[in-house]
């Protein structure tokens, strides 16, 4: 298996299952710009190389692309000016057509094969307002807000239709009486491969925590910032309790960014249509850690 820029040990549901499966592989290559938890399972990790001298573009969630001017601190060497992981590995495999010289070359190749980005040129990104995708052509102004004019239906109007409620695959019961929701925090991105290497962001949230309702905490005798044990049918973790009324009683919230964190608990059940794992809902139990 060849994994490129992915850290499934942290980001996939049921981490224990992921780890056991990775161990069964004959050979695993993990290529990433930094060492990740998944690299621990690899037989080979090609050298990390990242396009940063040349300036790189951040693909924001709000769907505008913004150029990051040449980052001042670069961990790579100067001759790695264009040492993007992709072209190097492909060249190494004897593939042609990857003789890019600048970040712009890489970008232009990327947008040539991505219809929604085709019109997102370097020049547009250098303007202060940048450009919002989808931007299918160079003369297209970009799309700051989707579906302003019409929806992709025959009459251009959005269709509302009723659906029958189906409960999640796993719901709270006597043994696992809490519902765990998962999500993100603003200070980290995905599995913290990049953000935890940033001193300021590491300072804000250096380790995982779980939000628990004041009433539940009181009943279980859990104090603010106490380390507690959380279990599901798939695994157990220790994490810090944040006692708050931001979550309802019997509901817990945990960010997905941390190793030995939320995804040790989550369920692999897939949505039948979208095939999205049921990451946002699983049944867990909470207990105090007894002093030895």
């Amino acid at each position: 298996m060849y994994i490129l820029g992915l850290n499934p040990v942290v980001s996939y549901p049921d981490s224990n299952h992921v780890k056991a499966s990775l161990e069964k592989l004959d050979f695993l290559v993990v290529q990433d710009i930094f060492w990740t938890e998944t690299c621990e399972y690899a037989g080979c990790c090609p050298p990390r190389r990242v396009l940063c001298r040349e300036g790189r573009h951040v693909y924001e969630r709000r769907a505008a692309r913004q150029p990051c001017e040449k980052s001042g601190r670069c961990t790579g060497r100067v001759e790695d000016r264009l040492s993007w992981s992709l072209p190097n590995s492909r060249r190494g495999m004897g593939l042609k057509g990857f003789d890019w010289k600048t970040g712009k070359d890489v970008w232009d190749d990327m947008r040539a094969c991505t219809p929604s980005m085709r019109g997102v040129t370097y020049e547009k990104m250098e303007k202060p307002e940048s450009v919002h995708w989808p931007c299918p052509a160079e003369d297209h102004p970009g799309t700051p807000i989707l579906h302003c004019e019409k929806f992709a239906c025959a009459d251009g109007l959005g269709n509302f239709f009723g659906i029958e409620y189906r409960p999640p695959a796993e719901v709270a019961d006597a043994e696992y009486p809490f519902t765990l929701m998962t999500g993100r925090v603003i200070f980290h991105y995905h599995t913290r491969t990049q953000t935890d290497r940033c001193e300021v962001l590491h300072y804000e949230v250096p380790e995982s925590y779980i939000q628990i309702n004041t009433q539940d905490a009181k009943e279980l005798g859990i104090r603010q910032h106490e380390k507690i044990k959380v279990k599901s049918r798939r695994g157990e973790i220790e994490t810090i309790a944040r006692v708050t009324d931001d979550v309802a009683p019997k509901v817990l919230y945990m960010a997905m960014h941390f190793d030995k964190g939320a995804n040790t608990l989550t369920n692999t059940a897939l949505d039948p249509l979208s095939k999205m794992p049921e990451l946002k809902h699983c049944a867990v139990s909470v207990e105090k850690i007894r002093e030895a």
Binding site: E126, K127, E129, V185, F187
Partner: protein, 416 residues
């Protein structure tokens, strides 16, 4: 020989500079002379980046490169002194010449008071500044108010109260008042600014007051220090700069323009500060607006007053990490540490990704503190309360005495 207080018209004799520079090219010529005579090792100036709306700081050591810094960019919102502190070793090892706006000049003094810069190694040429326009606002304004594609504009200027653009096929001016009524125009801090002619610099230059045959062909120069006088005399002696006495009527006009700008500044202050309400209403407004903060620390990073190595906002006792909305103490620490010296440069607002009117809040507090304590920031080397102690020495004193009473020795000097 000129001396502090002298005023004159100046222009360059240098054919190369004449080709590129505006208003007689006096500033560019002075920098050329400063570099050639080794009065400075480098000049920090602003040049055009990817387009007209992108002001880029540039270090010039070869006089031949000065041409690219000629002219003004009103969409430049940079603050130069903090760049020198952060990236040029605080001028401790290099003699640097800098072209400054009023806010730059004020920030230089505040950083120097805190020993973050060495003014002895800095030469400042001040330029009159009526205010700058944020790039995004400028582009939107040109598209909507002027009906012109901002990408085809090749020159902009502010003259006689108008923001004027030149583009392929024409030029167009609209009064700044009208633009600001429509929510465009200058940055909010610039509207409130009352430092239009930066006399804290060594020379204060501009086009206000240049009338008669020299109008548009010379720069009005006011000599503000002995250092400035020496630079000017040297450039004249070298033959790169020519000067003449200014038209007395011109001096009068310059005074009138400045007076009008200051009056306008007062008008905006009144409007902006009254808009904040008073007492608890003001506090509520500030608390509600700052609750959008995502703790990116950019306001602290860019602030010319902030210099501490260990910032109190990163003390978990005061501001619990990892929590949003951020504890209001984060902003209270900023106000407590900065407001007495805020020069209203607007950086904290310009860079804020949450678009919090940080500069307005800080400036509103600064003017109140000035009324109470009489300290005027950015004017001279007079120290504010917070500069009475040196950070390292004060931290050492606190550690040695196990005290948490900051400034105790300032208020109650230790008996001998």
């Amino acid at each position: 020989m000129t001396k502090k207080g002298d005023m004159l018209y100046a222009w360059t004799n240098d054919a190369e500079i004449q080709k590129k520079a505006e208003l007689g090219g006096a500033v560019t010529a002075l920098w050329k002379y400063a570099l050639e005579s080794k009065a400075v090792d480098a000049v920090l100036a602003v040049t055009k980046g990817v387009d007209l709306y992108d002001a880029k700081p540039v270090i010039i050591t070869d006089p031949k490169d000065l041409a690219k810094t000629a002219g003004s960019l009103h969409c430049g919102t940079l603050l130069m002194p903090k760049l020198i502190k952060k990236y040029l070793g605080g001028s401790k090892h290099t003699k640097i010449g800098v072209t400054v706006k009023g806010c730059d000049a004020m920030a230089f003094y505040e950083l120097a008071k805190r020993k973050q810069l060495d003014l002895d190694r800095i030469i400042m040429i001040g330029v009159n500044c009526g205010g700058s326009v944020s790039p995004v606002i400028a582009r939107k304004m040109i598209a909507e108010k002027y009906g012109v594609d901002p990408n085809v504009v090749h020159k902009e200027e502010i003259d006689k109260g108008q923001f004027i653009i030149e583009y392929e096929g024409g030029h167009k001016g609209i009064s700044v008042d009208e633009l600001e009524e429509a929510g465009f125009g200058r940055r909010s801090n610039c509207r409130r600014c009352k430092m239009k002619i930066p006399r804290q610099a060594d020379l204060a230059c501009g086009n206000w007051g240049v009338i008669g045959p020299k109008a548009g062909k010379a720069t009005f120069v006011e000599v503000c220090s002995e250092k400035g006088a020496a630079l000017l005399d040297g450039a004249v002696k070298k033959g790169i700069l020519a000067t003449e006495a200014p038209n007395p009527k011109g001096i009068e006009i310059r005074g009138k323009v400045e007076g009008a700008m200051l009056k306008l500044g007062d008008k905006w202050r009144k409007k902006d500060f009254e808009g904040l309400g008073e007492g608890k209403d003001r506090l509520k407004k500030i608390m509600s607006e700052t609750s959008r903060c995502i703790k990116c620390y950019q306001c602290i990073d860019q602030c010319p007053i902030c210099y501490c190595v260990d910032c109190t906002t990163k003390n978990p006792v005061y501001v619990p990490p990892g929590e949003l909305p951020v504890n209001f103490m984060f902003h209270l620490i900023r106000y407590a540490h900065i407001a007495d010296s805020c020069v209203n440069c607007g950086q904290c607002e310009e860079v804020c990704p949450a678009e919090i009117p940080n500069a307005l809040f800080m400036h509103a507090q600064q003017v109140e503190l000035e009324k109470m304590f009489g300290h005027v920031p950015g004017q001279d080397m007079e120290l504010p309360l917070h500069a009475f102690v040196e950070e390292k020495a004060e931290r050492a004193r606190l550690a040695n005495t196990h005290s948490d009473m900051i400034y105790e020795n300032v208020f109650n000097p230790v008996p001998k």
